[in-house]
Amino acid sequence: MAEIWLDIAQVLASTLRLATPLILCALAGMFSERAGVVDIGLEGKLLMGAFAAAAVTSLVGSPWIGLLAAIGASVILALIHGFACITHRGEQIVSGVAINILASGLTVVLAIAIFSQGGSTPSLSRDERFDEFALPFADTISGVPFIGPLYAETLSGHNILVYVALLMVPITIYVLFRTAFGLRLRAVGEAPEAVDSAGYSVAFLRYRAVIIAGVLCGIAGAYLSIAHGGGFVREMSAGKGYIALAALIFGHWKPMPTLFACLLFGALESTATRLSNVSLPGIGTLPVDVILLAPYILTVILLAGFVGRAVPPRAIGVPYVKER
């Protein structure tokens, strides 16, 4: 019994590790989309962040500076998105696609130009990464039945960015739902004309939302390349930005449901190899690649309104034109 529980605790731990970039990106998307700016460029910002973090860390040696670089690179892409969508009222989808393609090209071009390793960065040593650490008393409590393994195996022993991601959830709830800024930010995604007539700048609010999205995607990128992984490899975001987008929709653009969607998708990923050995009646065993499709299929079903209904912010995707 204790064995199985320990097993479960370890699966949960790996779920948490795989969900971390999803949580950060989904929250990024939440800020942006709640303010009315569609963000399908999460993937590109994540990839760019991952590259910047690994590149700068391997040049400078400090993961903290790498983290800052990731945030900086991701925010630059976010500002391009803002410049196109907010200032020039361009099509937000097109801008997002452009950012994803730019990121996937730029990361490889720059990696080859700087490191000449076929699009990767040099692998990082242990002290150049955000190392895993045990939470206090993890050893002492680990013997306690049930709670012990849950604390020692699941919660403890991650790198700092995992805890940052978890902490970002209550912070997001606070900022979006308990502050005046959050109220205005949400209002700008529902009824920008009302915010405008109340005397607040729609453009400035949306820019701030987009920048916050950039910061969060940057942290997620740093997690991929200098915390969870030890270096950048080409296309290392591998669709996580899109899965985060799916989680955001799945969570109805609300923080707690989105968190659970991220954890669900993380759990699917962490158990996909195990699930692929399970034989289903009539179908046989499913390959891992098919099991990993679940987030996408679930999102399509949800969007079609067959299980609940995902209602996006009202003014999402609509550039704001100030009345003259």
Binding site: H88, Y242, T299
Partner: protein
């Protein structure tokens, strides 16, 4: 399109695309300069690589054919202001259609019959993969962009499943089908030239280009010369107006997406039935996404799309040459050009409206027409 009313048509069709292209090249030129290479030399290498070296033109035209199909696919949907960014998945599923038909019939039916069935399957499978997102948007209100993104991933997973199992060539473990029977595939250019005793370099360029040009003409007729095209463009201009004019909005959305998917699926005719004569994993290679850049650059007009496809075909073939000539720059540079073009000609398209309107403003309207306002 709000600004284009004040800008002469020739500026909209010629000056703006040229300006966008120049900006995209400028961005990449600066990037190459920052890397420490000579951008003009890189451009030279790309031009030689795309047109001059033996066989290079064949590859350029092969890529061009892919891009005409995916560009037209994006354009048809875009006429109705729908973003079909699922071209990648639709082309992949179209490839599955080609493979299923060829594997099933190429030993039984005469070659040309199999070929025609395979072409139909490519269009049909691609159409089906876009029909669902269209249907879901039209009847359930789920946004076509998100659904097509999800469908791209689902298609990619399905292709892995198909090519690692049911469709895989027996007795080996690489994710590809067996070669299709020779008579069923579309003849390649070097084969056609061979019939006339000419000898040209062996490239994947094949007769599908004719089908692509035919599709471009078909799309032009469809958009500008049929009632359906009129409804499509009305819907693109304004949904309330279309509804008021009695256009069936759901029906038009579904039809636009289905036609768009069929065009994207036809890309598999070029790549699978013409180029490789077998289905290999990831044969779509991001060409579905290139279609977005092609359609934006070509102003969603078939003529513009054919020209933009040639440009991108040259970029892709020339870009491959970069990796051989330079140690520090490589073909991913083309992705940067592509991204920059989508950014400048798509997302930032209104940036030049005001300055260009000032520069090329039409003369003041005559007093008689001004008085009519």
């Amino acid at each position: 399109m709000s600004g284009s009313a004040r800008i002469p048509r020739w500026v909209d069709l010629l000056v703006i695309p040229a300006l966008n292209l120049a900006l995209a090249f400028l961005v990449c030129g600066l990037l190459i300069l920052a890397i420490g290479e000579n951008p003009l030399r890189a451009l030279r290498v790309m031009i030689d690589g795309a047109f001059v070296y033996p066989g290079s033109l064949g590859y350029t035209l092969y890529y061009t054919t892919n891009f005409i199909f995916t560009g037209l696919a994006v354009a048809v949907a875009y006429q109705a202001r729908l973003f079909n960014i699922g071209g990648e998945g639709q082309a992949a599923i179209g490839g599955a259609g080609v493979a299923i038909v060829c594997l099933a019939f190429d030993q039984v039916l005469p070659g040309p019959v199999t070929m025609i069935l395979a072409i139909a399957a490519a269009a049909l499978f691609g159409a089906a993969w876009a029909f669902l997102p269209g249907l879901l948007q039209a009847t359930r209100g789920s946004h076509v962009v998100i659904t097509t993104i999800m469908f791209n991933f689902i298609a990619a997973g399905l292709m892995v499943f198909l090519l690692s199992g049911p469709l895989m060539r027996p007795g080996q473990s690489t994710p590809q089908t067996r070669d299709f029977a020779e008579g069923a595939t579309i003849p390649q250019w070097h084969e056609i030239a061979g019939w006339f005793g000419e000898s040209v370099a062996r490239t994947p360029f094949n007769a599908s280009l004719l089908l692509a040009l035919l599709a471009a003409v078909g799309v032009w007729v469809l958009i500008y010369r049929t009632p359906f095209g009129y409804r499509l463009r009305t819907l693109g201009e304004s949904e309330p107006a279309a509804r008021y004019a009695g256009v069936s909005v759901p029906g038009t959305i579904i039809a636009a997406m289905t036609i768009s998917g069929a065009l994207a699926g036809l890309m598999a005719v070029n790549a699978v039935l013409g180029g490789q004569d077998k289905l290999v994993l990831n044969f779509t290679g991001g060409f579905g996404f290139v279609g977005i850049a092609v359609a934006l650059m070509g102003r969603a007009h078939p003529v513009g799309i054919v020209l933009a496809s040639l440009l991108f075909g040259a970029l892709y073939q020339g870009g491959a040459e970069l990796s051989f000539e330079f140690r520090t720059i490589n073909r991913e540079m083309v992705l940067v050009v592509q991204g920059a073009i989508i950014l400048f000609s798509g997302a930032l398209r209104h940036m030049f409206d005001a300055p260009l309107a000032r520069l090329f403003a039409k003369p003041e309207p005559a007093p008689s027409t001004a008085g009519a306002r």
